[in-house]
């Protein structure tokens, strides 16, 4: 019987409404049975798919852990084909995409993570992954947003450590971006909630030093030293922070202890020597006698003169015949020569500006020779630091 003949055989009108309740009951029963059957079928099929997905995912994880995110991508993608809602697979795929460096992989990672974020906006892991992605894209607003979400978000295990770790990451990112003010505010936040762990306080102190907040750095190092009084790194860090602030006496104390705690710390040893030189060469230090002050002024003047001459020799500049126009070194030599006869007036009360005049010239000589002949060492370095501190005080 063909279609045409069968359609002709259809009843033109039917009294379906007479048996509506029976029909609806029958249809409902069939629908329920079909629903149950399909539900069981889907459940079994999905379970099988999840098993396959886990197997493939484990393969991918092996590649990822061995530092081959590109090979892991295929497996992660396949795993997601069979278990598309698995957040762990999505997260690992996004991480592998982020680390693979393939063109367009960051966009794809962003789409996976954004989808995850839609479902778990307060999840610490997802927000941290999104923050790292924003870091890759140098997007400070997004990075700040997601790092903060991660810091204040929910973590399944060890929330304090994870939040702290996320904040440290954020601080490093801000420092890379030269956003020091924001980094400092994050550091202040983290330092207030640190547990009594010297390593953590040391890390915070180091970050304070890195953003040149030496006051807070010294406080943080002191915190470390309270917990571990002989911590060489903290002593060295505090000494260097004090040194950078021009507090050479404090620096000398810390650095002396640092060298005692770690005799192999050559950096601290060098800083200590410089600090001692500064302390012994600075004519404006308090609690020194007039004779000692004059001695330091004369020593500084002589040292600067020698530095000028050695720099002129190494730069092949003849300091004797005044040229027109004179070079900076020749000008400084002329001024040095002109000032030399006045040194005998050091004790005189009629020439009260002489110490400042001497030290101004010394500072200019040290700065100019540093510019032309490279960084100084020894007493010259000490004189340069003294002049820098004088400028800071003047300002």
């Amino acid at each position: 019987m063909n279609i045409a003949s069968r359609t002709m055989a259809l009843p033109p009108k039917t009294p379906i409404v007479r048996r509506t309740p029976v029909v609806l009951a029958g249809l409902t029963a069939i629908a329920v049975v079909a629903f149950i059957l399909v539900s069981r079928l889907v459940t079994r099929y999905r379970a099988n798919e999840r098993q396959v997905a886990w197997h493939v995912f484990e393969e991918g994880q092996k590649y990822y852990r061995s530092g081959d995110p590109t090979r892991a991508l295929d497996d992660f993608r396949t795993a997601l084909v069979y278990d598309p809602d698995n957040t762990r697979y999505q997260l690992d795929l996004a991480r592998a995409l982020r680390d693979s460096g393939q063109p367009g992989s960051l966009d794809e990672a962003a789409s996976y993570l954004s989808a995850l974020w839609q479902t778990k906006p307060d999840d610490g892991v997802v927000n941290l992954a999104l923050a790292r992605l924003a870091v890759r894209r140098d997007s400070i607003p997004d990075a700040l947003r997601y790092y903060h979400n991660a810091i204040y978000g929910a973590w399944n295990s060890d929330p304090d450590a994870n939040r702290r770790s996320a904040r440290f990451e954020l601080i490093h990112f801000l420092m890379q971006q030269k956003a020091f003010a924001q980094a400092e505010s994050e550091l202040i936040s983290i330092s207030q909630s640190l547990p009594p762990d010297p390593a953590l306080h040391l890390q915070v102190a180091g970050l304070y030093s890195a953003i040149a907040d030496y006051d807070r750095a010294i406080s943080a190092y002191d915190q470390v030293l309270k917990l571990d009084p002989h911590n060489a790194a903290a002593l060295a860090g505090a000494g260097n922070a004090a040194f950078q602030m021009g507090r050479y006496r404090t620096a000398q104390e810390y650095l002396t202890r640092a060298v005692e705690a770690d005799p192999n710390d050559s950096q601290s040893q060098h800083s200590l020597e410089t600090a001692q030189l500064v302390l012994s060469a600075d004519p404006f230090r308090r609690r020194i006698t007039d004779a000692e002050r004059d001695r330091r002024l004369l020593a500084a003047f002589e040292t600067a003169g020698k530095r000028l001459q050695s720099c002129a020799v190494s730069s092949h500049v003849d300091l004797k015949p005044p040229a027109s126009p004179a070079s900076p070194l020749q000008t400084l030599q002329s001024r040095w020569d002109a000032l030399h006869p006045r040194l005998k007036n050091l004790r005189s009360s009629l020439d009260t500006d002489l110490p400042d005049t001497i030290m101004d010239l010394v500072a200019q000589i040290e700065r100019e020779t540093t510019q032309q002949c490279g960084p100084p060492a020894g007493l010259d370095l000490a004189l340069l630091l003294v002049s820098r501190d004088r400028d800071t005080v003047d300002q």
């Binding site: 279609i3 045409a4 069968r6 359609t7 259809l10 009843p11 033109p12 009108k13 039917t14 009294p15 379906i16 409404v17 007479r18 509506t20 029909v23 609806l24 249809l27 069939i30 629908a31 079909a34 629903f35 399909v38 539900s39 079928l41 889907v42 099929y45 798919e49 396959v52 493939v56 295929d74 993608r77 396949t78 084909v81 598309p84 809602d85 393939q102 063109p103 367009g104 992989s105 966009d107 794809e108 962003a110 789409s111 996976y112 954004s114 989808a115």
Partner: protein, 606 residues
């Protein structure tokens, strides 16, 4: 509506009437009341049935999706990149099996399924054999799973329609309702397959029903929504793709999307022309070759996969997802678009059952991504992402190839869930639709039905038809219009010099009537010359027409009355003109025939 089901309803109600019998004179009224009640019941039952059709179609589509996934894993393996042996052997051998099944067991399952559903609605009184649902399910699951370049959406549409048709026959619904069930099931099947109820409803209206029909819209919507609910219950509510970030920063960038529309239109034309050219020629080959055609097509597609493009195999949704997320260069995207057109043409013209939706979207996504990347290369300031171009490209191909412009817009909106993309989509789709229609006036599905020897109504052709209106046929107002307050004598004096046989009479305060010359002469002979026209003319006034009405509406009144007044809608007393039966006939005779231009290709029957 009442008259349609009167006999059946009456016969159904009369025997069970046990309450006291009413008076004999009230019987017709009582029967009419019962009939109305029964019709209401049938309408309500039909709506509830639409929900059940949606549920059953949704369940069928869920099983269909699982079957495709299962056959893919079984035939091509676990990983996205199958081994060379599987790539070459699976589609070829399954092609052979599918050919045997199609030729010997399920002859009605060839093609995508859309035209079969449409034919069921317009030709076979809604009859779709249930066997075709089983055949479609099996053959498509095998074909798509083995890597034939076809999609599951159109088969889902036919499976839904076949289920609905079978259910309607089982319930012995009236022929009228049975005819309407096919599109109801089609919408359910498509909505579940595509997880997009609005697009499914629009597509069924645009492509299957072919006209806007308020009577069926409610049932179609109900079935589509219920099937989507069932599908999401089992398979989740996630979109088919991970949707990329989309944004339109500057309106000037719309030009870039318009360019995509032009490129997409040309791709759609190439796609459609290739199918329309090869399909009838392959079908005209000796019967024994039809066993081999799907296998050869499968082998060629396997070779494409083996050469490094396995993405063209199957529906390709995961590749579309990857394209949206910048995983391909523009060269690869362009190659994939071209190879997908080739692969789909091979699969479809070989008679392998399967749908065109997914391949169309695939080609659109790849083409969109490719054009987007090229545009971004030359104009780096463009802010549209590759994903945006892919999404717009999908809509473009949908509009240009399937010629469903409204569906294409809503499909992209539903798939992306992003309203920001609507302006680029509308611009690109409109450009693509207009260019494609100018290059190939007949849509692909209409060409295919005509190749099969069928002529089915098309919404696009209806859109193209020029409608004759009353204003096209009407004459200017007559020189003489009589006033209803005039006496018969006065009227006689005024018409004496005229040769017309009928005259319009303007009634007060409004309305029009007709005075025939012989009636006037008769009344004058009877001595009624002093009476006014108002007093002698019949109470029933002439019907009136408006100039903008379709001429069809004038046919019936023009047949009943010699002359019909055409008045202004804003002022019913203002006569714009008149129309007569002769005017109507003359207008129709002057109109060129609108018979569709049949495709000259060899005619074959599915």
């Amino acid at each position: 509506m009442t008259s349609r089901s009167t006999p059946a309803s009456a016969s159904a109600v009369a025997p069970s009437a046990s309450p006291p019998r009413p008076a004999r004179g009230n019987l017709p009224r009582r029967l009419a009341r019962l009939t109305l009640h029964t019709d209401f019941e049938e309408e309500r039952f039909f709506l509830i049935l639409a929900v059940f059709i949606g549920i059953f179609s949704g369940l069928a589509v869920v099983c269909f999706r699982l079957a495709i996934d299962w056959s893919r894993v079984a035939l091509l393996g676990l990983y996205p990149h199958p081994s060379p042996l599987r790539l070459l052997a699976a589609p070829a051998l399954v092609g052979l099996l599918v050919a045997v099944l199609v030729i010997h067991v399920f002859p009605a399952v060839r093609g995508s399924g859309i035209n079969q559903t449409k034919a069921a609605l317009y030709i076979f009184n809604g009859y779709i054999p249930f066997r075709s649902a089983i055949g479609k399910f099996l053959c498509c699951a095998l074909a798509i799973g083995s890597g034939q370049s076809l999609g599951p959406e159109d088969p889902s549409l036919q499976i839904g329609a076949a289920l609905a048709s079978g259910l309607g026959r089982r319930l012995e619904l009236s022929r009228e309702k049975l005819r309407l069930l096919a599109p109801v099931g089609a919408a359910a099947g498509l909505a579940a397959a595509f997880n997009a109820p609005i697009s499914a409803v629009l597509f069924v209206i645009e492509e299957v029903i072919g006209r806007w029909s308020a009577g069926i819209l409610g049932s179609v919507v109900l079935s589509a929504v219920s099937s989507v609910v069932v599908m999401r219950w089992f398979l989740g509510a996630d979109a088919i793709f991970r949707i990329p970030v989309t944004a339109l920063v500057r309106p000037a960038e719309l030009l870039a999307y318009a360019a995509l529309g032009i490129v997409g239109a040309f791709a759609a034309i190439i796609f459609a022309k290739a199918i329309c050219y090869f399909r009838p020629r392959l079908r005209a080959l000796p019967r024994w070759t039809q066993y081999l055609q799907p296998a050869i097509a499968g082998l060629l597609i396997g070779i494409i996969g083996w050469l490094g493009f396995p993405q063209v195999m199957g529906a390709g949704y995961s590749s579309m997802d990857q394209a949206m997320h910048n995983q391909f260069t523009w060269q690869v995207l362009a190659a994939l678009a071209g190879l997908k057109i080739l692969a789909t043409t091979l699969s479809f013209v070989s008679g392998t059952p399967g749908g065109m939706f997914a391949p169309t979207l695939f080609v659109g996504a790849m083409l969109g991504g490719s054009v987007g990347l090229i545009e971004q290369h030359f104009f780096p300031h463009l802010t549209g992402t590759t994903g945006t171009y892919c999404l717009v490209g999908m809509g473009v191909l949908f509009a240009a190839f399937l010629r469903a412009p409204m569906t294409s817009v809503f499909m992209v909106l539903e798939v992306s869930g992003n309203y920001q993309i609507i302006v680029p989509v509308i611009i690109a789709n409109t450009v693509a639709y207009v260019v494609a229609r100018s290059l190939q006036p007949t849509p692909i599905f209409d060409v295919l039905t005509r190749q099969d020897g069928l002529v089915l109504p098309s919404l696009e052709e209806q859109r193209e038809e020029e409608i004759l209106r009353v204003e096209d046929a009407m004459m200017p107002p007559p020189a003489l219009i009589l006033d209803a307050a005039s006496s018969l004598a006065e009227a006689h004096a005024r018409i004496q010099s005229l040769s017309d046989t009928s005259f319009l009479v303007h009634m007060a305060p409004s309305g029009w009537n007709l005075l025939r010359r012989d009636d006037l002469d008769r009344m004058l002979k009877e001595g009624k010359s002093e009476l006014t026209l108002r007093s002698v003319l019949p109470l029933q006034q002439l019907p009136i027409l408006y100039p903008d009405l379709p001429l069809d509406t004038a046919v019936r009144p023009a047949n009943q009355f010699a002359i019909i007044p055409v008045v202004n809608r804003a002022n019913l007393r203002h006569l714009e003109g008149v129309i007569t039966r002769e005017n109507v006939l003359a207008s129709y005779n002057a109109e060129p025939p609108t018979t569709p231009n049949l495709d000259p290709s060899p005619s074959t029957t599915q």
